[in-house]
Symmetry: C2
Subunit: 110 residues, 2 copies
Amino acid sequence: MYQPLHQFKAEFFKALGHPLRLVILEQLVTGEKSVTDLQAALGVDQSSVSQQLAILRTRNIVDTRKDGTTVFYRLRDPLIAELLELARSIFNNHLIDTQAMLQQLATTDT
Amino acid sequence: MYQPLHQFKAEFFKALGHPLRLVILEQLVTGEKSVTDLQAALGVDQSSVSQQLAILRTRNIVDTRKDGTTVFYRLRDPLIAELLELARSIFNNHLIDTQAMLQQLATTDT
DNA sequence: ATCAAATATATAAATATTCATATATTTGAG
DNA sequence: CTCAAATATATGAATATTTATATATTTGAT
């Protein structure tokens, strides 16, 4: 239906298009983390974290390393951190301009 | 349910997560285009283009300029072009590693 | 005022995603 | 071999997105 490459790129962005997955990736920007680490840091249950990690794995956005019974996740490519940082710049520049959004930003960290 | 900022960022990436919307954005990287321009360049019907443009507008990813009866669309922020370019680098680096994908790339342009 | 061109919106069926809950799997310790 | 810890997967109902088709709206020309 569409060119496979565009389909593929779309899948990549779709994988980033989820709040919990974004938070997970932000955690991974600072280095590899186990599922338990993420679960604790984000305050969500194990199953939800694993579910979203599975999606990031499928899309080749994260990589895993297994040590005993714990699995460590990391960004597959440091450029993904850059991408997230660039996205942050875009938000800061232009995209957030409704009053409601500004208000949210005033009380929330980036 | 989630922090509004993360929700907002997710919406941004979700908006990029669609093949036709990506192709539209790639067109806009080279400068502003009317709906008719896009329609012709992409070979899709008017309604589909407008529908997808509406989504990009809603998410503040594109901006419009009206001249008579034609509407010109452009990227809202040049950083969006950078983001797409960075995404391309990521694909070229790592993300495309299945045999099927390499095969597709060999016969398709980026 | 009417018409045609350009663009936008409405609708709804098909499809995909989300999210909570339950259950499996894998691994090392004892 | 059994158990518990850590992680993954299955399931399905609720919700959201996609996509095709039809219809509106807006604008400038005549």
